[in-house]
Structure formats: structure tokens, C-alpha cells
Amino acid sequence: MDEQQFQALYEATARPIHAYLLGVTGRRDVADDVLQETYFRFFLHRPAEMPAIETRRYLFRIATNLLRDRWRTRKDEQWPVGFDEGFSHDVNTQLDVRQAMRALNPRERELLWLAYVEGMSHAEIGSITGLKVPSVRPLLFKARKKAAGLLRPTKEIS
């Protein structure tokens, strides 16, 4: 793969992965680092032939594994307290998503993002997170319940 091919692939895939990393960690520096490492790992280990949709999923998988490695060492596990960039505080619904994200654990943030923002199926989430497909459903359900519980009080006040 030459520089032009890389650039084409990067432009097609980097934005959603970067947004995912930023959305799940809440930290731009971590998102930048992990994104860079993701592409490096991809080129080291990628299979010769891979369809575009599979490539995207594969990149998400690498990024998720890298995040998992960081969290395993208790690095960046906590949502940053002072981060207020890129997170909505909707005036109509008063849903402070940032506060909800802070209260969720890393795996819950991952699952919610992949399922509801990326719209991935349970099978796709399973292949990205390394979870067995039957485990995705209850874990996602639990995460959704928790998120709803965190978002609901402010909604009811409004």
C-alpha cells in the first residue's frame, strides 16, 4: 500500500473511529494516540484481501483492543472531569450526556456507542469487543438501563 492508498483509506475510516475513541474515552490526546496505533497495527497484521466494510470493522476491533489494554492497566479508565469539549447539554431535554458517560464504565460506553451510534448488530459488536454474541445482549441491556436511569432524572425535571 502506498501513501495515496493509505490516504484514501484513512479519509474513509478515520473520522468515525476517532469519534468513537473520543466519545468513549472523553480525551482527545488518548483518541489521537490510539488512532495512530490502530493504523500501525492494521498495516502490520492486515490480511491481504479485505472488503471495505470488513476493514472498517477490523479497525474498530483493533482500536477497541488498544483501549482495553489501556484500561487494563487502569490508564484513562475514568472519564475526565474537566472535559467539556464535544459533549452535548441539550437545552430542551436537559440530558447531560457527559454526566451519564462519566458514570458508566468503559465497557458500557463502548457497547452503547457501537450499538446506538454506529448501529452495529450484536454479532458485529461481538466480533469487535471479543464478547460472545449471546453475552452482548444482556450486557447492552444492562448498559442501556443504567444510561436511561442516569438520563431520566434530568428529563423528568424538564
Partner: protein, 156 residues
């Protein structure tokens, strides 16, 4: 009214993401607490994601490419150095073995037997040394060759 899980959650997520719902799905939402909850959470996350997406500025591809090239070179160096390390270990083992045999021979033989020991070293140990050296060179070169091919096959 369901309050737990619903089979139609994925349809609700898809409809919320696309903004296109059907009357039938809207009617279902009115009676299904699980799907309503899914819709609310999805909507909140999508709002959050829209702003995150707008403010997400991935590093420039040129910058990433440059760094990757740099890391690829470092990686290739480390890979090549592994072969040299193997050769270095084999050489050390040979040196230690040779020293031990030589010292052992000196210790065991009297001055009159030194000639015999020297002949033994010349015959047995020299041959063994040559064999080990050839094996080391063959292994090291082979490793470097394979490692080089592997690096060329995956250009970044």
C-alpha cells in the same frame, strides 16, 4: 407494555438513527417501555455523537503516514537485531564450551600430556567450532533473509 427486552429494539435504533419511522413502529413504541427507553437513549447518544463528530479532528494522514514509516524502520531494525542476538548467543555458548574444554584438558593433563591435549583440541574442538560457526552463520543469514522478505512483503 413490556418493560424488559423487546425483539424490535434493533428496528427502533435503525429508525432513530435514520429519522424515518413507520406508523406501525410508532404504535409499537407507544406500548413498549423497552423500545421507548431504547429510543430515548439512542437519541441522547446521537446528539452527543453529532457534536463529538463535528469536533473530532483526526490527525492529518500525512503525519500518521510519516510516523508509521518511522516506526516501520524501527520495527525492521529490531527484527534484524533479533537474528544478530541469536548469533551472539551461539558464539558465546561456543566460547564458554571451548574455554571449559580447554581448561579441563589443561587441568587433567600433566606437562607431558599437553601435546596430546593440544592434538585433541586441534582435532575435535576445532571441527566442532567450525560446525557451530557454520550453523550460526546459516541460521543468522537465513533468519535475516526471511525477516527481510517478510518486511518487504508488507510495505506501509
Amino acid at each position: 407494555m413490556t418493560n424488559d427486552r423487546c425483539e424490535r429494539e434493533s428496528s427502533v435504533v435503525a429508525a432513530t438513527r435514520s429519522g424515518e419511522s413507520t406508523l406501525e413502529l410508532d404504535n409499537h413504541l407507544a406500548t413498549c417501555a423497552a423500545c421507548t427507553e431504547t429510543k430515548d437513549v439512542t437519541r441522547s447518544l446521537l446528539q452527543h455523537a453529532a457534536i463529538t463528530w463535528a469536533q473530532s479532528q483526526p490527525p492529518e494522514p500525512k503525519r500518521i503516514w510519516r510516523k508509521m514509516q518511522e516506526r516501520r524502520r524501527q520495527f525492521a531494525w529490531r527484527r534484524a537485531a533479533r537474528g544478530l542476538t541469536v548469533m551472539w548467543v551461539l558464539a558465546t555458548v561456543y566460547f564458554v564450551g571451548l574455554s571449559e574444554h580447554y581448561l579441563f584438558a589443561v587441568w587433567r593433563t600433566q606437562s607431558a600430556q599437553l601435546e596430546v591435549a593440544a592434538r585433541f583440541l586441534e582435532d575435535g574442538m576445532t571441527l566442532a567450532g567450525i560446525v557451530i560457526a557454520v550453523i550460526s552463520v546459516a541460521l543468522g543469514s537465513g533468519y535475516l533473509l526471511v525477516s527481510g522478505r517478510r518486511t518487504d512483503a508488507r510495505p506501509l
